[in-house]
Subunit: 374 residues, 2 copies
């Protein structure tokens, strides 16, 4: 039903505003010509406030995973002792990737519905002075958990370890202060809170991370920071980038800047709170406690979650995401990142309450949250 | 002048047909949903005739270089003896990339305006039985040379070496027969003869190459064939792909199939022959001899080539490419790949003859070539 208007409520790729989509159709231009040479540095500078940094932001043509690998490839050589904080699918990805590069991987695992504990990290690092890099996830979209990166960064104390953060599903929707918090590498991608199509990743390195990269012997070419640096110094990408997607992102940044970052952050929190109030009003339980609840995606426990999702997709044209790992088939996830408003949350909740034969129960609870926030 | 209609005559990214650009603006969908699960395998199957293979074509979200690295990352481990045929910028890239992965790199260099010699390759391999992989370039766009891949493949004789070919700037515009020629890995990308925006690479492995990949210990995750295989078996990409660009490529394949591959190949040869006849009629010399002249891009020798290009870009809105490496500033390159017709060659030649104050000289020569081909 209503296939012509699919409501995409998954944690990425997220709906793209029509004015952004329109820019993806811009005529092709020379990526080494004067227009693109002006446009690309502008885009990268406009991303700096989202990272909370004055460092150069690099663009990698690829998925978010490509951005993650740019961090690993430049920092992890065979034998490099690293600590991966694993509390979900994307934390696991850090560990797998570091192993693929021969790193000596220490895993600090925490339950998949909770956040990483800064105290545990502090303790672990105290007893493992050899750790060179800690890999963390800001917003673990697989478990709908937001981690406290500032606290994790502080937990290092005077320990030498660099902190690398996957902020793919948070940057632009959740505050981040790379420089202030002392984070060393931050990775994000175009298709989440940035409201653009997938295909571009963005990575930023602190001065310490750059130094370590220079000394690192891991195999890399496409992801080699040194090559990127050489080209970016003359305002060019090393390899032919997704020119169309850059134009799209440029327009998406116009929208984000017009709203203002603070208001965008508040909007994401409001959507989260509406969804959580709504599902609770239906007698359903969010996967995570309030204290670590992601501002960009909400998990909801439900037996037969996949059949429930399929029915909603068919009947109402609303697409939720399923569970991953231990939660496969046991939860569904409601994405509320990027190009989404509180009104979209009302329709997401409407199809839930209709499916559960509780007309108005969830939406009314969410409306009250919204009213209170006004 | 005429900035609203830039004629992009560079060897990629190439002009994208408006109907293809329009598809890049399609609404975003779930890359793990049923629509994309149907679309992606279709696209990859439709690419097989361009490769000349019945093997699985893999899509990598990234630049053409990412596709090249998928070959290297899966076949080159520290100490792997490889032979790189280097006669241009992209041949050099193979060598650099193999070194980055710790390969023991043998380089067989040949002059930058000629093709690789199958005889030299045969001799080299006879005296170096240890070589495990040969890396070659089909169309070396930096030198506007087409290499005879069939002959290079045959030159191996009974030697064990796998043959990996960069066909980024040729596939879809120049015949290729991976299976018949016995080529083991072929790489291409979306933004050349495929007439789509940049951002997607495509890679295909022979059974022998797959076996070697399984035994190879090089560091890889984003480019790991094993991970791709696991996902592609269930018709899914491992990481979030450029969904918009897939829709665009889908439409580009419609255009290419409607024309027919044989006619597309003939069109590229005709454009090449028109350009070569035209520039010669102006008293200019193509960079390469006819026998190895690229069907997709033509280099033209000219003192002060860069100033000449800049003037043409400013005055006429036609953008040619400059030289690379030893040819920087000494040649200009006329791209004639993908979404280009013989009429476009006439306008490219028109701005040349006007700039050289020889009205009609080049276009009339090119028209005669075209008439003869009819």
């Amino acid at each position: 039903m209503f296939r012509f208007k699919q409501e995409l409520r998954i944690p990425g790729p997220t709906p793209v505003p029509p004015q952004v989509l329109a820019k993806a159709s811009s005529p092709m231009i020379n990526h080494r010509g004067s227009v693109f040479k002006e446009k690309l540095p502008q885009i990268l500078r406009r991303l700096q406030p989202l990272f909370g940094t004055t460092e150069q932001v690099y663009m990698v043509t690829g998925s978010g995973t490509a951005g993650m690998e740019m961090a690993v490839a430049n920092l992890v050589s065979p034998g490099t002792p690293v600590l991966c904080l694993v509390g979900g699918f994307f934390g696991e990805r850090w560990a797998k990737m570091c192993r693929a590069y021969g790193g000596e991987v220490h895993e600090l695992s925490y339950p998949w519905d909770t956040a990483a504990s800064p105290d545990q990290v502090r303790e672990y690092l105290l007893s493992h002075p050899e750790i060179e890099v800690v890999f963390a996830t800001h917003n673990e979209s697989s478990t709908t958990v937001i981690n406290d990166i500032q606290a994790l960064a502080e937990a290092r104390g005077s320990h030498q370890a660099l902190l690398v953060v996957d902020a793919v599903s948070s940057l632009g929707g959740v505050p981040f202060a790379m420089d202030e918090w002392g984070v060393d590498v931050v990775v994000t991608a175009s298709q989440k809170c940035l409201m653009a199509p997938p295909g571009l990743a963005f990575v930023c390195f602190s001065k310490r991370a750059r130094e370590k990269a220079r000394a690192s012997s891991g195999s890399r070419y496409y992801f080699d920071l040194e090559i990127y640096d050489a080209y970016f110094q003359r305002q060019e990408p090393p390899y032919t980038p997704s020119v169309s997607l850059c134009f799209a992102l440029d327009e998406a940044l116009n929208i984000l800047e017009a709203e203002g970052l603070e208001r965008a952050f508040a909007r994401h929190l409001l959507m989260r709170d509406m969804v959580r109030a709504g599902v609770r009003a239906l007698g359903l339980e969010p996967l995570t406690e309030d204290k670590c609840a992601s501002p960009t995606v909400t998990g909801v426990k439900l037996a037969h979650a996949d059949a429930f999702r399929a029915e909603i997709r068919e009947k109402y044209g609303v697409e939720f995401a399923g569970g991953q790992g231990p939660f496969a088939g046991k939860i569904f996830r409601i994405g509320h990142m990027g190009y989404a408003t509180p009104l979209d949350m009302l329709t997401s909740l409407a199809v839930l309450e209709m499916s559960l034969d509780m007309p108005g129960a969830a939406t009314s609870a969410a409306e009250r949250v919204w009213k209170q926030a006004q």
